[in-house]
């Protein structure tokens, strides 16, 4: 019923507009088309000036409404992101100046130089000097922006610091998996052909390095103030690890691992206080369309103090033992296998 009324209302407005439009055409014939044209000209010139003024007021109002809702006022939650914030502000100022000058010129000229009885258009076909000015100035400013940008770009995409914690992130339809290298600090090899049952990541347990690796789903724990290097994979289609609070993003491409690193500045608890939001949580958003559940592909990052992180890590069981429970020394079922060389306790091969 509501929809019907809306459609009826729309149709009514439409008919009214049409009748006015038709009537105004008759009026213009009666009044003289030239006179109507000039009147329309004046009205539209005024409206363009009004659009400029209200446009700027609107832009200011929009900023008042939404600036606080962005993640920008709190500042970046990663050390590297501070550079991003600064660069964003710099670019905003530079483009903002150009924006104001050109938009004001556009609408002001339109208003000022509207057709009038006593003035004629001024013949001005070209000026090499002017054109050189507005070729070189933008070129210089852009080169400066490129220089600033590339400095940050090479830092952000460069090698992670040597002491970085390594976490392997794997995206799949529709969730995130994380793998930690364990005490040996080396991630075990994977082979997608080994993906079967509980071994959902296709870890190659032939590789001794894989035996102490830890696998968790959905939530990633990392310590604060320590660089974290993510090694990013995808299992099925392209995903993207989007970390809005850390000002980062990197695609997860099947078959082509990528990396990305950052250093978190604040723990989740600190962020809760800073944002005055008890529900605050660092989120991983999938930023590459990956199918019908794309919008629900949410990961959580818990940033905590190093002590808390270590404590958490200690409670995690290596994936090898969660898959092959009988080989877990904690279960004390087959204790004698532990003493054997690793090659003899291999899982059955396909």
């Amino acid at each position: 019923m509501k929809e019907f009324l809306l459609v009826a209302l729309g149709a009514l407005v439409f008919v009214v507009v049409f009748q006015i439009a038709k009537a105004s055409e008759y009026v213009s014939v009666l009044k003289g088309e030239e006179k109507t044209r000039r009147q329309n000209n004046r009205i539209n010139a005024f409206l363009l000036l009004g659009f400029l003024i209200f446009g700027f007021i609107g832009a200011w109002y929009c900023n008042e409404l939404f600036y606080g809702k962005t993640l920008f006022p709190q500042g970046s939650a990663s050390k590297e992101g501070e550079g991003w914030d600064w660069m964003f502000m710099l670019t905003t100022v530079v483009t903002g100046i150009v924006f104001v000058i050109t938009q004001v010129a556009l609408f002001w000229f339109s208003f000022k130089y509207q057709e009038k009885d006593n003035t004629k258009a001024y013949y001005f076909a070209h000026s090499t000097k002017l054109e050189l000015i507005w070729t070189t100035i933008p070129a210089i400013v852009l080169c400066a922006l490129v220089a600033v940008g590339l400095k940050y770009w090479f830092k952000a995409t460069g090698d992670a610091p040597k002491d970085a914690i390594v976490v392997e992130v794997t995206g799949h339809q529709f969730g995130w998996e994380f793998r930690y290298p364990g005490p040996d600090k080396v991630l075990g090899k994977k082979n997608f052909k080994l993906t079967k049952g509980a071994n959902s990541l296709g870890v190659d347990f032939d590789d001794p390095a894989s035996l102490d690796d830890i696998h968790v789903s959905g939530t990633m724990h990392i310590p604060v103030n320590k660089p974290v290097k993510m090694v990013i994979n995808a299992q099925d289609v392209i995903h993207d690890v989007g970390l809005p609070h850390f000002r980062l993003k990197m695609d997860a491409v099947p078959g082509i691992p990528t990396t990305q690193w950052f250093t978190p500045r604040y723990t989740t608890e600190e962020m809760k206080q800073m944002t005055h939001n008890p529900d605050f949580t660092y989120e991983i958003s999938c930023d590459q369309m990956c199918g019908k559940g794309h919008f629900s592909m949410r990961g959580i990052i818990i940033v905590e103090s190093e002590a808390e992180y270590k404590k958490w890590l200690a409670t995690q069981k290596p994936e090898y033992f969660t898959i092959y429970k009988d080989r877990d020394p904690a279960n004390k079922v087959v204790t004698d296998t532990i003493a054997k060389p690793i090659t003899q306790v291999l899982p059955e091969k396909k």
């Binding site: 055409e25 939404f66 809702k69 962005t70 009038k116 490129v146 809005p244 980062l248 019908k292 919008f295």
Partner: protein, 600 residues
């Protein structure tokens, strides 16, 4: 160039015979359906484009309903969409199909075929002084390939598993694997076949436009006297001819991967618990192939709008376009650079950072010719005697939007900033403003300006002014606040944000945007109504040159027949922009140069 032109493919041998067009018999079929008259083909492109624009716009309204009111249900939707809107709730799978089709339709079918197809066909022969295209037959085929592509794409909306739903960029593996998405089943094959047809259409059209401009210019119409519309359409055609085949190759390889078991784009995939045998392919390779077209495509969409706005701004300011050669040069620079920036869509795919840095530099270089164009438009307005016809308003709106959207390109083109802004609403705001809405404004400007030449009648002014003001205010209301969502990192192509701690604060804004989008869509319907109403009932054009324009199309009769000029094709003696020169308000191109005329 001789003023006697012979048309191939048809039986029209126009020339000295002043009344020739009355002689040959035209049936309904040859005049309106399988027409070889470039003006009729232009109208066919325009009307087909408008139908697609309504469908594509309607899709955006439907998915904006979901975004604006994620908690609500709309039972009436189920009547139209059946199981895709079970219980009045749009299903995620179909939401993605709508998003994908919205992009595909608007980018390719409306702003490529509908825009260049219409105006390249209509304006090139009329403005260069030719009786028709170099090959009217190929021109007709160009439309009918487009029509076939349209039918196939339209039919994909009705297959059981739904149309393609992997985004208009159809990145594999998502688009390659039926197991990964319903939309990647038969709907995706139809998408690819339709695009192949579309590419053929665009190649036939483009080759025709290029050869017509190079070979059929009337006597005296040197390249440096061409109106800027023709220059823009020329570079557009060159871009299309050089870049579309690359997409075709990508589409064919993707079809192979989908149906013949090849591994061009697939490797190391486990989908739905199934281990696929494919190894050695690269999903990123497809992105290179796609964006090698995809980026020039942006300029294929934008350049015609730039050209038409240049022309319309000059005519209605009653002033020469400022810096004609710089305008041509900047079009040329943009066309060249358009081929060298494609990887800026791929900054976060893990590409080599050095390669990325090269693309940053080349991308930001585009801002230089763009800045030249903006400053030249502004200087053209300066000290003019401006007449605000609806076409002129849309051209001014185009410049405003081009500035607003172009400047945010400086953020996104700088790879470091793209690390956070990539694939967020900041990107949506950027490309909708600079490429989507701006090009629509260029297209509207063109329609309002050349409607009198197309149909011998004017569009209704009151409806036109309402159309302009609601559209420009609405466009800014819709897209300006999206920058803030993007700054917060809100990802595009999400069905629902309400469970995200980082993005749910924008729920109210999303509702507002959806509401404005519906109003703007309704006003576009008013335009469509105005278009068809005025075609039959509009005020009649009584003077052959209603805008006081210099270009040749206004030297034809009010309703030109096939062959355009009843007598000889006029000879050209000057450039297209002699406005306000030596005390004359305007001097048409076919006016011989007087002895006392100054040279600038």
């Amino acid at each position: 160039m001789s003023s006697v032109a012979t048309l191939h493919g048809g039986d029209v041998h126009a020339g000295h015979d002043a009344h020739h067009e009355h002689h040959h018999h035209e049936t309904f079929i040859t005049k309106y359906v399988f027409s070889q008259d470039h003006k009729m083909i232009a109208k066919q492109f325009l009307v087909t484009g408008m139908i697609w624009a309504i469908i594509g716009g309607l899709f955006s309204v439907i998915f904006r309903l979901q975004l604006g009111y994620p908690e609500s249900t709309f039972p009436w939707l189920e009547n139209f969409l059946g199981h895709w809107a079970k219980g009045g709730k749009l299903q995620p799978e179909f939401y993605y199909a709508l998003v994908t089709m919205h992009g595909t339709i608007l980018v390719f079918f409306v702003l490529t075929a509908g825009l260049s197809g219409t105006f390249a066909n209509f304006l090139i022969p009329l403005q260069i002084g030719a009786r028709d295209m170099a090959s009217p037959m190929l021109n007709m085929l160009s439309y009918w390939f487009f029509f076939t592509a349209s039918i196939i794409m339209f039919s994909s909306l009705f297959v059981q598993t739904g149309p393609a739903s992997g985004g208009w960029t159809i990145y594999p593996p998502l688009s390659a694997l039926g197991d990964a998405s319903e939309g990647s089943k038969i709907g995706m094959d139809l998408w690819l076949v339709s695009m192949a047809m579309f590419i053929v259409s665009s190649l036939l059209g483009g080759l025709n436009y290029i050869s017509t401009i190079l070979n059929l210019r009337t006597k005296g119409m040197s390249m440096t006297r061409l109106p800027l519309t023709v220059w823009a359409l020329f570079f557009t055609a060159v871009l299309g001819v050089l870049s579309f085949p690359v997409l075709l190759s990508g589409a064919i390889l993707l079809l192979f991967d989908r149906n013949l078991g090849t591994s061009f784009f697939l490797s190391d995939i486990v989908v739905n618990g199934k281990i696929l045998p494919n190894e050695g392919g690269s999903a990123i390779l497809f992105q290179h192939l796609f964006w090698f077209l995809g980026h020039p495509e942006v300029y294929i969409i934008l350049l015609p709008a730039m050209g038409m706005s240049s022309e319309i701004i000059s005519v209605n300011s009653r002033k020469p376009i400022f810096g004609y050669m710089a305008m041509v040069g900047s079009l040329f620079a943009i066309a060249i650079l358009a081929f060298l920036v494609w990887a800026h869509h791929m900054f976060v795919t893990g590409l080599n950072p050095f390669l990325g840095s090269v693309f940053v530099l080349l991308t930001l270089l585009i801002a230089v010719p763009s800045a030249i164009k903006v400053f030249n438009w502004l200087t053209t307005l300066w000290r003019g005697s401006i007449r605000f016809t609806p076409g002129m308003l849309f051209a001014i709106g185009f410049v405003s939007l081009f500035i607003s959207g172009g400047l945010t390109g400086i953020f996104l083109g700088n790879s470091a900033l793209d690390l956070h802004l990539h694939d967020t609403y900041f990107v949506i705001a950027h490309f909708h403003i600079v490429m989507g809405v701006a090009s629509f404004f260029g297209m509207f400007a063109g329609i309002y300006h050349w409607f009198p030449k197309m149909f011998g009648r004017y569009l209704n002014n009151t409806m036109a002014y309402i159309h302009f003001w609601v559209t420009i205010v609405g466009a800014y209301l819709i897209f300006w606040p999206m920058h803030y969502e993007g700054l917060a990192g809100m990802p595009r192509r999400y069905y629902d944000y309400s469970s995200w701690e980082s993005f749910k604060q924008f729920g109210g804004l999303n509702e507002f945007i959806s509401f404005v989008a519906m109003i703007v869509f309704a006003v576009q319907l008013l335009f469509v109504f105005n278009f068809f109403y005025s075609m039959y009932k509009g005020r009649k054009v009584t003077t052959p040159n209603p805008w006081g324009s210099n270009t040749l199309e206004w030297t034809t009769p009010i309703n030109p027949g096939h062959g355009n000029w009843p007598g000889e094709i006029p000879e050209v003696y000057r450039g297209a922009y002699d406005y306000a020169k030596d005390g004359h308000e305007f001097i048409p191109q076919n006016t011989p140069v007087g002895d006392d005329e100054t040279h600038h």
